[in-house]
Assembly symmetry: C2
């Protein structure tokens, strides 16, 4: 992967290589694939396990992969607050590498709460940002929509939503070259006066920010319609939206599959349309994006599903490398300085 | 439609026959279909318009349909509070018929906020219920889930959620004969300690109600999975869930349709599987249920989509008649009296 004219230094991505439901195997396999695509990766975790896992990938020794030992790991059933004081935990070692300028970004499929906590404690916040938010992408009729927060903050203030709208707008400009992305505020009616106490206050704040391309309220039905480029919401609603969307797609495609195996004609038809339908299902596959970015911390941090497979790990590493090349954090820092806290 | 052994008096259903995006035509057509199925209907609205519309249905004169004049109507762009003092508005006349024991239920595809307000003001609340909630049904892998509140209350107290769990549990027992329905609290993690401030408090209240079959927290992905019979949530989140679910289904089925018309093989396959897929799409069609019930008021009140077609109107009328036969309101009143407010 060659550096852009912007001249971001070529740094490796730190992968929490033992995090997630399946431990090292999908992490190492995904890292090998990313390395083959030119991304340097630091595999952070128990070095004995990681070397053993690397040994299963012939030719991995010639790839830009390096193991960084971290003998401890935050288990999926531990509390996020357990990251405090666990210096040798893989997620803390990975965050420290980013903090010290030895890695461009961190990627973890491990404990989401622990990844957020480690990122916030080690990297700190960007200027003017009270709380970081998790931004994820959902497919729409017209492309994709960036939704945030999808789970970092269950209870919010209206001012957070206004800050997240800023973060997401700069993010889409820098990373996806969308010139003037539109921002929708998720609510229960298009009219300005519809919503709950927090969204009514947030609506006024968003309306007052001249540098935002604020569309106004959007409803649940607008998410997949792709009415706006960005949808801002609290982390409670956003998390439910994300999991509902994924769950509904699974159930609907399951029904379609069942429908295509009942009766001879349907079965025959099903065989003929199988590839077309697979392409549709692919759009809803979380592995396509690989991981969600934690926006608002002073460093690149990506949080993936605990159930991530090697493809998700690879795609997350590629996305992290691209964001680094675009100098996302530097540009967020510069552009946020100009806005009121 | 014959009365059940329970002996509910045979009363007509009051239909706000001029409400909704398309005015009288789908309402009258739906009422004619319901009347053919044995349900008596009072068509409430401008009598000149309604008689003219009825004239388009040959044989309607022989059906159990009656026009009740209401010269005024609350427009879709008016405020819900406009129902106050508008005695001749169709929704107020319909609510009054229920209040006076002249109709078994009211059904409206008109202004949702106005229907809620008219129901609450005219009918009052059931014992121990602070706020009524809208309950709707979503299809799941294993049948259907009852979700409430889907839009009556944008801001809630934890105690409302506990009351709604009660209402929905009695509702499913009475109307769908489900013996001991399970209740899930929509949140952002299965663990008891995950949620926002309101759900954490609601969790404790639900846990303390011995007469409920409380399952615990459910996540967004559990809705379509059908993990519980009932999902309780605030009206902000519930409204977004409902509209997201409908919107996503529309977009996903659109993609499937597109996929089945690209290329000769896919097209041929698409023809063979068309009927099977139509059956799948039907499960997500809001017309199948027709309307959602407003639970918590002292009378049967059904609120439908403004865009409802005749099939939705007919199904809503049939549902209302069945709920009346089951003596839903009487049984809610009896069973709620035994529970703490």
């Amino acid at each position: 992967m060659t550096a852009e004219p912007s001249g971001a230094p070529e740094l490796p991505i730190a992968l929490d290589a033992v995090g997630g439901d399946h431990g090292a195997p999908p992490n190492v396999a995904g890292a090998v694939q990313a390395a083959k695509a030119g991304v340097k990766v630091l595999l952070v975790g128990d070095q004995v396990k990681l070397h053993a896992e690397l040994g299963k990938h012939p030719g991995a020794g010639a790839l830009p992969l390096e193991v960084v030992d971290a003998p401890d790991v935050i288990g999926m059933d531990e509390h996020a607050s357990d990251v405090r004081g666990r210096r040798e935990a893989s997620i803390n070692v990975a965050a420290k590498l980013v903090k010290d300028g030895k890695a461009a970004a961190l990627v973890s499929m491990g404990h989401s709460g622990a990844t957020m906590a480690a990122s916030l404690l080690t990297l700190g916040r960007l200027p003017g940002i009270d709380r970081p938010a998790i931004l994820t992408h959902l497919p729409t009729r017209s492309g994709a929509v960036a939704v945030l927060d999808v789970g970092a903050n269950a209870d919010v203030k209206a001012s957070y939503l206004a800050q997240w709208a800023q973060l997401a707008s700069i993010y889409l400009r820098v990373v996806e070259a969308r010139e003037n992305p539109t921002v929708g505020l998720l609510s229960i009616g298009e009219e300005d006066h519809k919503g709950n106490a927090v969204t009514l206050e947030a609506h006024a704040l968003l309306r007052a920010q001249a540098e935002l391309n604020f569309y106004g309220n959007v409803e649940g039905g607008d998410v997949f319609k792709g009415t706006t480029d960005i949808v801002v919401t609290d982390g409670f609603t956003g998390n439910i939206v994300l999991k509902l969307a994924e769950g509904e797609a699974r159930v609907l495609f399951g029904w379609v599959k069942d429908a295509l195996s009942g009766g001879v004609l349907a079965k025959l038809g099903g065989l003929l349309v199988r590839d077309s339908l697979r392409a549709v299902a692919e759009r809803m596959d979380p592995s396509t994006y690989g991981a969600s970015i934690l926006l608002g911390v002073r460093g690149l941090s990506y949080i993936g599903h605990g159930s991530a497979d090697d493809r998700a790990v690879k795609n997350a590493l590629l996305r992290a490398a691209r964001a680094h090349e675009s100098r996302l954090i530097e540009r967020l820092s510069e552009q946020l300085k100009g806005t009121p806290a």
